[in-house]
């Protein structure tokens, strides 16, 4: 497809949902031109197509002076390399080794997390949920995909997916089993549906056999999944605890 072709294609998909006359009507496909263009969308979901559409949109916004390309690069880089679950892991490890910090974390999570320098969008009002031998906490957002960005980064695909969002509240034990986690009958499974602007972080149980470990070594054991509540932390260090970056 030549450049003109893909740009026209890009525009068709967008125009199906939107017009200057009203975003809401067009998101719903009720706009005057909504119907004919929705037609185009059926064959728009090919990834390479989306790359072209976004490339065209980005060029337009850069040329118009609306956005700075270096600023876009910086945002992508921050979420690929800095703002991720390692932040939450440091919070958890600190709570495990420092009882005073743990108390602050459980009573005023936002401030305690900010002590380690983590704050910002989608982490403004934090609540920490402590797993114990009697209670296992699990976090979901059934209505969208709310997630504590500053300490866990952007959510994995499964967390945002219909299977997880639909089932975590009605069959949490079945969901946990799919993650390989069997919760004993006598343990309460407590699901937190993030319907408001509170963001939840699970404080997993410190695994036995880690008494000799330093805070840094402990942080390396803590996985993203354990801080959502779909896994427990084990004393085995996890090699893959490196944020993955898209190869280019």
């Amino acid at each position: 497809m030549d450049r003109r072709g893909f740009i026209r294609h890009a525009a068709a998909g967008a125009a199906g949902f939107a017009a200057a006359s009203g975003t809401e009507a067009h998101m719903a496909g009720h706009g005057d031109r909504g119907h004919e263009h929705q037609h185009d969308n059926a064959h728009q979901a090919v990834p390479s197509d989306l790359n072209l559409r976004v490339k065209a949109l980005e060029s337009l916004l850069v040329e118009k002076g609306v956005v700075d390309r270096a600023a876009l690069d910086t945002i992508v880089d921050l979420y690929e390399t800095k703002i991720g679950p390692r932040n939450g892991a440091r919070v958890v490890a600190r709570a495990w080794v420092n009882p005073a910090y743990r108390r602050r974390l459980l009573t005023n999570a936002t401030a305690a997390i900010a002590e380690l320098g983590y704050e910002g969008g989608q982490g403004e009002d934090m609540v920490v949920l402590e797993n114990t031998p009697r209670v296992h906490n699990l976090v979901v957002c059934t209505l969208c995909s709310c997630y504590p960005w500053p300490i866990l980064g952007l959510p994995p695909v499964w967390y945002k997916s219909a299977p997880y969002r639909s089932r975590a509240v009605i069959d949490p034990r079945g969901v946990l089993r799919e993650f390989g986690l069997e919760i004993a009958d006598e343990v309460e499974v407590r699901v937190w549906d993030s319907t408001a602007e509170l963001r939840y972080l699970v404080l997993p149980e410190r695994p036995p056999g880690t008494e000799h470990m330093t805070e840094e070594e402990l942080a390396a054991l803590v996985t993203r999944d354990s801080m959502i509540g779909v896994a427990k932390v084990t004393a085995r260090p996890n090699a893959p605890f490196v944020q993955q970056r898209l190869a280019r």
């Binding site: 740009i7 026209r8 890009a10 525009a11 998909g13 967008a14 125009a15 939107a18 017009a19 200057a20 975003t23 809401e24 998101m27 719903a28 979901a45 990834p47 989306l50 559409r53 976004v54 949109l57 980005e58 337009l60 916004l61 040329e63 118009k64 609306v66 956005v67 700075d68 600023a71 876009l72 910086t74 945002i75 992508v76 704050e119 403004e124 609540v127 059934t142 969208c144 952007l154 994995p156 695909v157 499964w158 997916s161 639909s166 089932r167 509240v169 009605i170 799919e178 009958d185 309460e188 499974v189 407590r190 937190w192 549906d193 993030s194 319907t195 408001a196 602007e197 509170l198 898209l246």
Partner: protein
């Protein structure tokens, strides 16, 4: 609105696809769609309205699109609505001749401050809580056609106030630019059996955050 986004308790969505060593962005365009959305959100950014725009996608499209494809669709819709770009510019891929060139509002140097900026929905307003911790409540059986954060699976069900989170703006009005209507938000504790019947474990509970306007005395 009783939309397809309100998924709690639905069946038939398939197994959970957990990916080992998942990249933050799977495709180049995903990161760009995310970053573009973060950058063009101006001072007038309204989180509730933005969420509502996604809910207004036709249900079949909502389910077919990936998360970032929904974001991209919303972004284009907002850019057109706000007059940042025109349909003609989108179609041609180049700025209209004579279009005024803006100066980017956010430079790379400003990004770290942008992402760590707090934009809390919490409000200082002195509003009296209608319920207290430990009190039994019922989620109202209401079906607003606009934006709401009261999930269908909880409507009409009884629970107990577990935490008073304080005062927050109210999404049902804020999403439609009808004011912030600040009020208390509580974590309400529902027995899984109250929500799902005898098939659920008697040990399990679901905690749902609810605004005062969603609740009545049980």
């Amino acid at each position: 609105m009783n939309g397809v986004h309100d998924m709690g308790g639905m069946h038939g969505m398939g197994p959970i696809q957990h990916e080992e060593h998942e990249p933050v962005f799977h495709e180049w365009w995903e990161g760009r769609a995310y970053a573009l959305t973060r950058l063009v959100r101006g001072q007038t950014y309204n989180l509730d309205n933005s969420r509502h725009l996604l809910e207004l996608l036709p249900p079949a499209d909502y389910l077919r699109m990936s998360y970032y494809e929904r974001w991209l669709t919303r972004l284009v819709a907002q850019l057109l609505k706000n007059g940042v770009i025109t349909r003609e510019e989108l179609e041609s891929g180049t700025p209209a001749s004579g279009a005024a060139k803006a100066t980017p509002a956010v430079t790379a140097a400003m990004v770290p401050a942008l992402v760590t900026r707090r934009n809390s929905a919490r409000r200082d307003a002195q509003v009296r809580p209608r319920f207290r911790v430990g009190q039994r409540v019922r989620a109202r059986n209401i079906h607003p056609t606009g934006h709401t954060r009261l999930p269908r699976y909880a409507r009409g069900k009884q629970g107990v106030i577990a935490i008073d989170h304080g005062v927050f703006l109210f999404p049902d009005t804020n999403a439609h630019l009808l004011g912030e209507k600040p009020q208390h938000v509580y974590s309400v504790r529902f027995a899984a059996r109250e929500l799902w019947g005898p098939q659920a474990s008697p040990r399990d509970f679901v905690h749902i955050d609810m605004w005062d306007d969603y609740l009545e005395r049980a």
